[in-house]
């Protein structure tokens, strides 16, 4: 779960990190009121779940209240990489002497924590990593040891943060690590961590990804969840407890298990179609879950056919089949459905589905045939697909 900048800064503030005084604003009037309290000059910053805000004109310096109003009007409603700006963070402007970079995340290779610190902040850290990797000082932290002040001190020395007070930097890094650990973050990134012209360190941006699995010990996650960026389809699926990701195509996909759902999306693309979504209904394919999934796809106007891909492990074929029939009874499905049902008791499941088959509900013998059939029902192979129009997949699938 990704946090907005201001949410990340609020998290940081609760760990004693130095952030600029600021306030949230939803309208130009609120932005002006906030700037009045804080004192100009201020920076008006778009709060969206994406990077590149500065380049898109989503971060503006305002010298006086009139400028604050103008900036707020310009930024609100701005579309930044598909994210429309609905909220602003207004904060006191900082006089910057130098910009640094710091982050903590999991190094999956070593299964330890990885800290990265660089005197070259304020720019794309991937460029720094590619062009001058030696400019990034890395530290491996064993999770059961934690992060000691001595290690932090050596780290600061090796990164060489010109002008920064070493003890102050150590305090900031230790507090950031605590926010990473105690806040149950997957990732914490500050770019830039700035040195002000009067010699203090200040956290000027906050990129925080929280671990949804830790929700049970963080009641505050519920509030963050409400601002998570989801389109209408994703919101509907999320409210029904389904794992859903919206995609651009026209074949709706329902599968049990994330891997099988991903494989289904791959398969659709492989035979020349394009999936409208990824939807994992998890282990139980009962009528309740199946209805919810079908309703979500049914409300998506781009869906032209539905590909249900179920592999029964413990889940039994007859339960899946009954679930599909019950769901079709409850929901009036606009698109034709193609079912692939394999695994435990699949023959029993087929026997239940067979009398109901029509051009609205079809069975396919395996995953590949089902994907082909569904792509055919959705209008066929798309010209710009990797498999191309002449793959023959369509004809074969329709047999």
């Amino acid at each position: 779960m990704d946090l907005l900048e201001h949410q990340g800064k609020e998290l940081f503030a609760s760990f004693g990190l130095p952030i600029s005084p600021g306030a949230l604003a939803l309208t130009p009037t609120e932005a002006v009121a906030a700037a009045e309290r804080i004192g100009c000059p201020v920076v008006v910053k778009a709060q969206v779940h994406t990077g590149g805000r500065g380049k898109a004109g989503g971060i503006r310096l305002a010298e006086d209240l009139e400028a604050v109003s103008r900036c707020a009007e310009k930024i609100l409603g701005l579309d930044i990489k598909g994210h429309v700006v609905r909220r602003l963070w207004v904060e006191a402007a900082t006089d910057i002497a130098a910009e640094f970079y710091v982050s903590f995340m999991l190094d999956r290779g070593t299964r330890r924590h990885l800290g990265m610190l660089s005197a070259q902040g304020g720019v794309d850290i991937e460029d720094v990593s590619a062009n001058s990797p030696e400019a990034i000082s890395r530290i491996q932290i064993d999770p059961s040891d934690g992060f000691a002040a001595d290690d932090a001190r050596n780290w600061v020395t090796s990164a060489g943060l010109p002008g920064a007070d070493v003890s102050e930097a150590v305090e900031v890094l230790l507090a950031l690590y605590r926010a990473y650990r105690e806040g149950d973050a997957d990732l914490i990134e500050v770019n830039p961590l700035v040195l002000t012209t009067d010699g203090r360190l200040q956290v000027l941006d906050a990129k925080v990804t929280l671990d949804s699995s830790a929700r049970f010990r963080h009641p505050e996650y519920d509030a963050y969840d409400k601002t998570a960026p989801r389109d209408a389809r994703e919101q509907q699926a999320h409210s029904r407890g389904l794992q859903y990701v919206g995609l651009e195509g026209n074949v709706g996909v329902i599968a049990n298990g994330a891997g099988l759902a991903m494989a289904s999306v791959d398969m659709v693309s492989d035979v020349g179609g394009s999936a409208a979504n990824f939807l994992d209904i998890g282990g139980g394919a009962n009528a309740e879950v199946m209805s919810a999934a079908l309703e979500v796809l049914n409300d998506d106007p781009s869906v032209r056919a539905i590909f249900i891909n179920i592999f029964g492990g413990i889940t039994k074929g007859e339960e899946v089949a009954n679930g599909i029939i019950e769901a079709m009874r409850r929901v009036d499905i606009a698109s034709p459905i193609v079912v692939r049902l394999d695994g435990t008791n699949s023959a029993e499941g087929w026997n239940i589905l067979r009398p109901r088959l029509s051009d609205r509900l079809e069975l396919a013998p395996d995953m590949l045939a089902a994907a082909r059939l569904a792509v055919g029902r959705a209008g066929g192979v798309q010209a710009d697909s990797p498999a191309g129009a002449g793959s023959g997949a369509l004809e074969e699938g329709a047999r």
Binding site: L106, R108, G109, R111, R112, H113, E126, D142, P143, S144, D145, R181, D184, D186, D211, S212, S213, A214, F216, R217, Q243, V245, L247, E248, A255, N256, G257, A258, G259, L260, A261, M262, A263, V265, D266, M267, V268, S269, D270, A275, F278, D280, F311, G312, G313, I314, D342, G343, T344, D366, M367, L368
Partner: protein
Amino acid sequence: MSIWVDEETRVVYQGLTGSAGRYYGLLNRDYGTKVVAGVTPGKAGADVDGIPVYGSVAAALAEIDANASCVFVPATFVVKAVLEAAEAGISFIVVITEGVPMHDEAILFSRLRREFPGVRMLGPNCPGIISPGKCNIGITAGHIAKPGGPVGIVSRSGTLTYQALYELKEKGIGCTTCVGIGGDPVPGTNFIDTLAAFEADDETEAVMLIGEIGGSAEEEAAEFIAAEMSKPVVAYVAGLTAPPGKKMGHAGAIVSGGKGTAAAKVAAFEAAGVTIGRNPTEAGELMAELVATL
């Protein structure tokens, strides 16, 4: 032969009295797995369909002999349950539970590596392990696997693991052991651990690997295969068509910034001489062709 579990494996089920623990524990016993005890704090003296329940793993081991455990306890208790099993002397711990926080997993892995170097943990958030015909620990439906060999399977995804077993069985190909390592960021056992075990196993002649987008486990596996493995590997990587920056269900399946994409993983495997299937069915077909030449 098989790796890590066989007909001699004697398993304690931590959380046997819970609904999932009971359901799968009894299914595993029906399959032929030696399910020797259950452990639930506060429920010592109870039994689940004749399987004795103890209050702790140590208490169970005082009375019965066991060398593996299967953990079905809620996510909040996983760290405690695994360390309890390790301290009691269990050497192979399978954690089925999903939703364990990343930091808990990282600390658990670190402590096991230091304090219990002889202990292997599989999971968390994995379907378990099955040596067909011998031992099934976890939530795999045993009948979809054909006993024997010559193929070993290792997978990051649950349902795709079943799919792989099923594809092979349909083609009359047996499996020595099928290992689901799970899709979480800090797996107790990774691809490399499993590939090394298959490489050392006499009966395993080829390996089917199922990866997915996110992280760098597949790239590291590819390096290992190139450097250390003599046995052929067929792989499928799920998420070939996933858009960058989207999370698709698994905590581990995150694509960002060009790293961890399916394309990068496929390229790494191909460079290591691994045969790539574009989808699970094709991977099964390629494995069948390969097995026919062995």
